[in-house]
């Protein structure tokens, strides 16, 4: 079996904290493939797939198709075009890098809440050139409104359940639902992970006003 760096799992978790599970997984699959080819990706899946279900899912797509799963922001942008403002819960660098420029007239906020460890928020936001505003948890209500939208990332669905980051469960509740016009789920990994989604939480698909 290909010998992978012993710290790979810990490094992945660190990267996922500031880039998002999906974006970090794309980097790790790409680099491992470049170094050791499909055998390396298989070895990574074998050694770390059970711990990190999104990494497993991205690696599986790569091994099936020979390409990394892509990111298409047009449908999410279309769904948010009429919103007065968008508050993002959870973080995926690859997805937001594409989405934010597609919504030049819509103020966008990022909830400063990550459960994976300390995050350098200044660094995260510096990548968006002031187009993304940091929103502390206590300011959630200030972003509510009749045309406001909440956006989170979904890592596949299983029946009526969607795999989401745990931040979504902290935000989502019966009191929050009526305060936003749309609650958008953006599925980055359709089909979902093949292993138990450790580090993720599950939410009822019906809680979303739209799933793209």
């Amino acid at each position: 079996m290909t010998a992978l760096p012993p710290s790979l799992g810990r490094t992945f978790l660190l990267a996922a904290g500031e880039l998002g599970f999906f974006s970090a997984a794309r980097i790790f699959v790409r680099e491992t493939s470049a170094a050791y080819g499909p055998d390396g990706v298989r070895a990574m899946r074998e050694q770390h797939g059970r711990d990190y279900s999104v990494l497993d899912g991205v690696a599986a797509r790569y091994l099936d198709t020979g390409a990394l799963p892509g990111v298409d922001a047009t449908r999410a942008a279309e769904a948010l075009r009429d919103a007065s403002r968008v508050l993002v819960v959870g973080f995926e660098a690859d997805a937001l890098d594409l989405l934010v420029p597609l919504l030049p007239a819509v103020p966008a906020g990022l909830l400063m809440q990550r459960s994976l460890g300390p995050v350098d928020w200044d660094r995260v936001l510096a990548n968006f050139d002031d187009r993304l505003t940091a929103v502390p948890f206590d300011d959630l209500q200030k972003w509510a409104g009749s045309r406001a939208a909440l956006l989170t990332f979904v890592y596949g669905t299983a029946g009526s359940l969607a795999h989401v980051s745990s931040e979504w469960l902290r935000v989502m509740g019966p009191d929050v639902r009526p305060q936003f016009r749309s609650l958008l789920g953006w599925d980055l990994l359709p089909g979902g992970p093949e292993v138990y989604p450790r580090w993720l939480a599950t939410a009822d698909v019906a809680t979303f006003s739209a799933l793209v």
């Binding site: 760096p5 012993p6 790979l8 810990r10 980097i27 680099e31 660094r123």
Partner: protein
């Protein structure tokens, strides 16, 4: 020496020892020591508090505050993060190249902004690389340690890099270019020597296994974390133009105009901050390093009291009476300066020793004494992790980064871990200081 003359130096000594032993209370200790010195000189008739305050080199404080605000503006312009990432990419993620690239980068940055700001701007990028790459304790200790020493050397390389050189500039002991043309090559030589010694003698990468995938992952993650971080032109352009104008003024303004370096800095920084409007106002109101200003103010008051008591004159006379040739006396003075700075830190070391050094300039060229002193103070600052304010900050940043070795055990970076780096750095820089003193007084 009369008994009342001994009170101020005794208070100074006790204060310096106490602040070194209790760094958490250092500001209160130094301010209390300064007040006690004022009391002692007032009661004994040596000098009034007003006279001691008049002796404070306010120009130094103005330059420190001004350059600190300029550094804040550069930090807001996110100019150093992308440079640090480029350095990381250029190194290919290899630990020895990484250490070289970051040490040279830190040296350059800390020559322009104060050490604390330089560290806060550059170290986080290195810590990401270490967290995602080779976090062996030995690599971490030597890489972060070398970075800290490079920071001290960069601060000593230019007249605006750190407090000791600013003091020389502000007091008129040396002109801007006179200091720069002497200190820059000397500190560069020390840096090259240090990096050579670390690579050849300490060999931090000894026993490490090179893993190309770990390196490429580390670089890819670091690049992704900074993927779209670009310098913000708004703050960067006025800050760079202002700094450039100040450098030109420090270099070329004729003495007959009586526009001192502190006035150049004062005016320059005000113009730059005004150009930024509300951002400038916010920085001026909230980002002045009050702790550093009060700490140095307290030190200056104590040093003024000791000077008024005639102690520095006596010390200078003692050095001049040593049964050695003048160059031998210079060597003794520089070695003492290095050790005392290591014990008491750079601020107190330079503030007190400059007065003694002035006595030596009666028989030796001023630049040799002053640049040698600045290098010795730099050596002392690099001896212990606690000798420079950037040391505890680096320790805190490393702890916060939660570095882990290959087995998942936390990697510490504290006094003991820095000590081998400090001892080697002290030997190298103090050696360069003494060699500089001897070579330039032949």
């Amino acid at each position: 020496m009369a008994p009342q003359q001994l009170i101020p130096p005794s208070v100074l000594l006790v204060t310096l020892l106490a602040q070194a032993l209790l760094p958490d209370l250092r500001l209160l200790i130094v301010m209390t020591g300064a007040a006690l010195c004022c009391l002692a000189t007032s009661v004994t008739g040596v000098a009034t508090t007003g006279a001691l305050l008049a002796d404070v080199p306010w120009g130094v404080l103005i330059i420190l505050v001004g350059l600190g605000l300029l550094a804040e503006l550069l930090a807001a312009g996110r100019v150093f993060g992308p440079l640090a990432v480029r350095a990381a990419v250029a190194s290919g993620g290899r630990p020895h190249r990484l250490r070289l690239a970051f040490a040279v980068g830190m040296y350059a940055v800390s020559g322009l902004v104060n050490n604390i700001t330089a560290l806060v701007l550059v170290l986080p990028v290195l810590l990401v690389l270490l967290r995602t790459g080779d976090a062996r304790p030995r690599t971490v200790h030597w890489t972060v340690g070398t970075l800290l020493v490079a920071c001290n050397l960069g601060g000593a390389a230019t007249p605006i890099g750190d407090f000791p050189a600013i003091l020389l500039l502000s007091r008129g002991s040396m002109r801007f270019t006179d200091y720069l043309v002497r200190a820059l090559p000397a500190t560069l030589a020390a840096l090259a020597l240090l990096l050579g010694c670390v690579g050849l003698l300490a060999r931090p990468e000894r026993g490490a296994v090179d893993d190309p995938l770990a390196r490429s992952l580390s670089l890819a993650v670091t690049t992704a974390l900074h993927r779209r971080v670009r310098p913000a032109r708004g703050p960067v352009i006025p800050a760079v133009l202002g700094l450039g104008a100040m450098l030109l003024a420090w270099t070329f303004l004729p003495d007959r105009l009586h526009v001192g370096p502190e006035l150049v800095c004062w005016l320059g920084v005000c113009v730059v901050l005004l150009a930024r409007g509300r951002q400038g106002e916010r920085l001026a109101r909230t980002r002045v390093d009050v702790e550093a200003v009060l700490f140095l103010l307290g030190l200056f008051v104590m040093v003024a009291a000791v000077r008024r008591a005639g102690v520095f004159d006596a010390l200078g006379a003692w050095i001049l009476e040593l049964p050695l040739p003048p160059r031998g006396r210079l060597v003794v003075f520089l070695a003492l300066a290095g050790v005392l700075t290591g014990l008491f830190s750079a601020g107190p070391g330079m503030a007190a020793l400059l007065n003694v050094g002035e006595a030596l300039t009666r028989e030796l060229p001023g630049p040799s004494v002053y640049v040698g002193l600045a290098l010795s103070v730099c050596a002392g600052s690099s001896l212990f992790l606690t000798a420079a304010t950037s040391g505890p900050l680096a320790q805190a940043l490393v702890e916060r980064a939660d570095l882990r070795d290959g087995e998942g055990r936390p990697v510490r970076f504290g006094f003991l871990q820095f000590l081998p780096v400090g001892l080697l750095s002290f030997a190298v820089i103090e050696g360069v200081a003494i060699a500089y003193g001897l070579l330039t007084t032949q």
